[in-house]
Symmetry: C2
Subunit: 332 residues, 2 copies
Amino acid sequence: MAPSIKDVAERAGVSLGTVSNVLNRPDKVSEATREVVLAAIAELGFVRNSQAAQLRAGTSRSLGLIVLDLANPFFHDIARGIEDVATELGYALVLCNSDEQAAREDRYLQLLEEQRVRGMLITPVGPMSERLDALRRRGTPTVLVDRHDPRVDCCSVAVDDVAGGELAGEHLVGAGHRRIAYVTGPLSLRQCKDRLTGLRRAVAGLDVTIDVIEVPALKARHGYEAARELFDGGGRPTAVFCANDLLALGVLRAAVSTGRRVPEDIALLGYDDIEFAADAAVPLSSVRQPTLHIGRTAARLLVEECDHPESHSHQQIMFRPELVVRESTRVA
Amino acid sequence: MAPSIKDVAERAGVSLGTVSNVLNRPDKVSEATREVVLAAIAELGFVRNSQAAQLRAGTSRSLGLIVLDLANPFFHDIARGIEDVATELGYALVLCNSDEQAAREDRYLQLLEEQRVRGMLITPVGPMSERLDALRRRGTPTVLVDRHDPRVDCCSVAVDDVAGGELAGEHLVGAGHRRIAYVTGPLSLRQCKDRLTGLRRAVAGLDVTIDVIEVPALKARHGYEAARELFDGGGRPTAVFCANDLLALGVLRAAVSTGRRVPEDIALLGYDDIEFAADAAVPLSSVRQPTLHIGRTAARLLVEECDHPESHSHQQIMFRPELVVRESTRVA
DNA sequence: GGTACGTGATGAAACGTTTCAATCATCAGG
DNA sequence: CCTGATGATTGAAACGTTTCATCACGTACC
């Protein structure tokens, strides 16, 4: 159907190899024939079939990325960072959304391996699936994103969540708070647990009380409900630290709707610094993760391994988060 | 490097064609040999090379999707809808982000055509680029998403923005507002203009004043700034309708920070009904677009054209948006 | 005039599948 | 015992590239 190199060759009255040369090493072919061939290409509307090219080459120029949830600004920014670097270095990126479902992850891994992606970036749903391990063993370079598995020998890029919790704790303690609520998603999630660990470490030895409120998911609605309960209860913390910004936005809504002023009546600190944090009704203080940077670094590590497998040595990179102070924790 | 069907055949002691049959029509092969072959596949860790398969087949099972901005929840939900249907119908989806840059769009179109995607879903940056047109002419089925170009003969799925503006107008007028501000992005954007048209249509013949405030982009920050100015100025509208939710969130922040109550002092209505609308400090009324449905419909149209090109006839589908009323426009 | 060399162009092989006509084995019916 | 039919398996061709050894043709040099 679509015109092939052969059709172009016929039309231009040259051999098939010459057309290929025009496409891939134009300097190896004389000015005159090059023009003839290019004209034929234009006339026929020839578009090269990269499947055939890659089949012949035995390797592709595309990378696979599987994230947990593209709707999440955290992953979205990471994907953006990866995409930037990939394009810059001449790789195409195939974006996939596992939706935190192992079955979807599995299907995408299969699909990407069948497509012979050159390398893989992934935030695995579970610890390390059979298929992912097989993929690695078969020789597809792999980088773990937002994960760090000491048992697995490959590159990884993650963020130090303990340090993030510590930053939060120091900030709140420094602002004079002595009773702090930590609203968190399931503590079975490493992130949630690590941030709590950091928070506790920051207040260790000080006369500070921490109330842990665990909710079923990192969604605004749960933050709202947790806060309503908290406000009704007897504890009366003066600050709330949330395991992510969505929870914090929920808490903020609860505060506004019950007439509490933020930060005067209650201080509020989120995590992730999503775009909406700055634009919340009361701009939200938050712990920012260098998402774009994570993505760019992960992509660079992967491409390095793809392009120079022999000289490559695996690296586990851990970024430190950063505190962004806005209205919601400002002291008067 | 990676084991091929040939290696499997050797290992299993059968011919190459038989292995292919085991893979593609297992019923055509006897129980015994099938088992032998499957065992060989497992032992060798064989993964089929879909590039070769598609090359031979002359057509792939993947669809391309190019959107303006994946960070935008609107496009994100559409992509999700498309992905759902695509997977369900046995197609893989290649996600691309044009970032509203014609150059990026162009590059992705080229890439996807080289990969021989079976069909294309796209929200074009500009009117209709040379390359997109060429792609269509060469026979790649194409569906326009959130666009509707009467000059172009292909399927499209869009939303009626005039109707959306009308819904908004009727709602606000019905709530008794007689002076309404419309905070909008550049009116050169069709969406912004159409929504204004609808708004005007809703108040036509009534004693209602509309103040149009045009800002440079559909971002919360601009909504905030516009609102600060608006509050300082003399107009004093009782309601603000925003061309999207981000602007509305900005306006909400301005209101909260200047001590205005929503909706008592000023009513607020957004557009898109993004996830955060419901979780805003004051839950935001909004005009909802059936994004998931748009995506699903677009994908179904495309797959229909891909699978039955002869019986297919192009359709231009226009969805109607829907009003979601929350606190921000609730009348006491 | 012969040799060596450089520049362009050529043609065939190979990549890993799928498909399909051809072959082979088996068996039922006459 | 032969014929046909059925079912399983085979082998070769084809898809569209890239690569590489080969070849044709001048040109420069001795």
